[in-house]
Symmetry: C2
Subunit: 436 residues, 2 copies
């Protein structure tokens, strides 16, 4: 069947509408780099071309001829014909040097290295300002989900109430396999690595550090709060055992590693930890390498986005979206950094948790309330401050701790624990009439 009309003339020239293809210098030819190369190769009509690929190991066998590669990064960084630098290497220190140098040269840069980005964000923002370059990094958070761009484009002015998400595809894959399919933890981890979901150092994934980097990036864009990763609690899944799984099942809950950003008065609380999810919670049911994020806006209400958070092509699709955006001179506005009323971060929250540890560790922890205690587990309420204060110990000893209920605060006068409620009223004055 023919459609009704001949196609109308469309108003805008193509983004990459020059006769010459848009020239990309690519650093890294691992899982994401290869995905991007193939994607660009297959979307020839889109008008981009990878003209050179910077690598560190010239001896590895690769599926392209040697003349496409270079071991000398200046061959990309100093090439004036290259219009965009894309950095998808594993090594955060080297990624930092590349991105920094490119930005100082006023270049357009796309990066996917969340560790490097989260650790250096204030400087990277200033470099864009000072030298007129652009840095985009959609692929660094939630793989294929356009979460940073959506926050920038959609929620630049709207005060956000909270954000939470499954930000690490690798640990989510492991939890899915272990929890739903009964696969052993070590086997699930190995399988995640083979599929290219896991970082080279799996501690980044299963220790919650990767999710923490991503949460720090989201905190900047969604709340205008800049924070060093080490200021944020990160509790991982590497201490998980069968007793913990049994406990989750007995409560009919699902276990996921969740990153949370929550407004507490004029401050922001941030933490990454396993969470026991009820049937009604949106993040429940996000399986395997999928990521998901819930963004609660004061006008738009709760938004839920779910998509692949790892893998060659899904991640490359986000890099590609940045390539296109850079080509049409899009840059992040960092609007929330200019307008936020938030003063910084706080750990003044109380968490109902399930925690399993040995006796020595238990002796270090002060509880607000204990509901149930066994030989090695406690179910009760603990201050986020307590967990942050003992973060190093908890990480080293692979203590398993999971959020198991709603956030609490202490009444400033009576000291009584009560349900935490975001001060939406403070954000949005009561409307003059009753529009829904």
């Amino acid at each position: 069947m023919k459609t009704d009309s001949t196609k109308p003339q469309v108003p805008k020239p193509e983004d990459l509408a020059s006769d010459e293809p848009y020239k990309i210098g690519l650093f890294g030819y691992g899982c994401v780099g290869q995905g991007l190369y193939h994607l660009i190769d297959q979307l020839k009509h889109a008008g981009a071309e990878v003209v050179r690929i910077g690598i560190k190991d010239g001896k590895k066998s690769r599926d392209l001829t040697a003349d496409r590669f270079t071991l000398d990064k200046t061959q990309i960084l100093n090439d004036p014909t290259i219009q965009l630098v894309v950095e998808v290497i594993d090594d955060a220190a080297e990624a930092y040097r590349i991105v920094r140098e490119a930005l100082i040269a006023g270049r357009k840069v796309v990066s996917a290295n969340k560790k490097m980005l989260a650790e250096n964000l204030p400087e990277l923002i200033s470099l864009q300002h000072d030298f007129g370059g652009t840095l985009l990094y959609e692929a660094a958070v939630c793989g294929s989900i356009p979460v940073i761009r959506t926050i920038e484009d959609y929620y630049a002015d709207e005060p956000l109430i909270r954000l939470s998400g499954i930000l690490n595809g690798s640990s989510n894959y492991i939890l899915s396999k272990v929890f739903s399919e009964g696969v052993a933890y070590s086997e699930a981890l190995q399988s995640a690595q083979q599929l290219g979901f896991a970082e080279t150092d799996p501690t980044l994934d299963v220790g919650g550090f990767d999710a923490r980097y991503k949460l720090c990036l989201l905190a900047a864009h969604a709340f205008g709060v800049l924070v060093k990763p080490e200021q944020v609690l990160s509790a991982g899944i590497h201490g998980l055992n069968n007793a913990d799984l049994e406990f989750a099942r007995s409560q009919d809950k699902q276990l996921r590693l969740v990153a949370t950003a929550e407004r507490v008065g004029t401050e922001l609380a941030l933490f990454v930890m396993p969470q026991l999810l009820d049937a009604h919670q949106l993040l429940r049911g996000v399986e395997n390498e999928f990521n998901a994020v819930v963004i609660e806006g004061s006008f738009s209400g709760p938004q839920f986005y779910r998509g692949k958070g790892a893998g060659s092509h899904p991640t490359a699709s986000a890099v590609w979206a940045d390539v296109k955006a850079a080509a049409r001179s899009f840059s992040y506005g960092y609007e929330k950094l200019k307008t936020t009323l938030l003063q910084g971060i706080t750990n003044d929250l109380y968490l109902p948790v399930y925690l399993r540890a040995n006796e020595t560790i238990h002796r270090h922890l002060t509880w607000e309330q204990v509901e149930h205690r066994s030989i090695d587990t406690v179910q009760g309420i603990i201050g986020l401050k307590q967990l942050v204060a003992h973060q190093k110990l908890l990480q080293e000893q692979k203590v398993f701790v999971a959020l198991n209920g709603n956030l609490l605060r202490k009444d400033p006068i009576s000291g009584v624990l009560q349900a935490h409620q975001s001060e939406v009223a403070e954000l949005i004055p009561v409307l003059k009439n009753n529009v829904v």
Copy 2:
């Protein structure tokens, strides 16, 4: 706790960064118009201002002084100080006249009227081209979910395999109440109207027409296919009765009104109809006035977005996002219209359905396969062509028909029905090596 660093200087000026507020002429002061007015009023720092509001009824009591309103549309359309026209009125014919005139004047326009947009899209695209104006309409599809912009920004080049969604908040609200809470249909409809979710004429919602307009808009952006709404099957929920609900429950399925776009070879199949959803389907569990959409890309994989699809503030938040985008001169690229390989639309698909109708109607329908027949219901396989051919009859008689399984096609040689599979291979040549 103080964060680690003083804030860096951010690279970009604000979108609306002039000393003067960005001047908006607003048509319509109903549910969405009021929401937008209040949103802009509360986001004063964002730098926009509604300078005049065009209305058709001067006698209605309103919460603003009379001097803000005008009954004369030329006071907005001919005012050279107004930088953006926002149209959120109910009347599609009048909305068309306003938008057309504004575009011919080369203006920037934001509209939320899906009926008007879907019925006139080719012309509205051409007018942008010919007169240099801009038309944005995020709020016309899925309320608060930034679906059109995401497709434009993210999937402009990536071939999409399918798209499906719950696009009508009003009928979804009714189905939720009826199905999950046991409320009577008429009562649920009335409640949707009181909450401002339903159109003035509820047939637009419950007949599936509103979702069909939205599907047509999505088909243009996501697949580059322009289609007149009346070419697309629209089966609604207004014929639903208790026997249908019982049937759904007996199969442990959930009933939702779903709009589907599916690649079939080099053509696109489009239809709106109730669907019986399995536990594993992403659209299941989308309740009340929420909308949701699943977009399956060839690189990015399946993406799922869920957010409020109706209501004053959620819809206004999407209009506001368009205001901001217009202010920084964003316009839709309609990239897919230029590059798609799709030839048009097809109804060459076979659907497993549950259908209830009276004997007269049953006599009109030819089935491919009947699995179960009762006095008034048939469970079996029917051609989409059959349903389209009898669309008028089915609508008039409020026949209840629901998709109940996976799409099928006929083998072109043997004529045997078999599972429909999108030709992903045709879209994405096999990769040279096995990256995931």
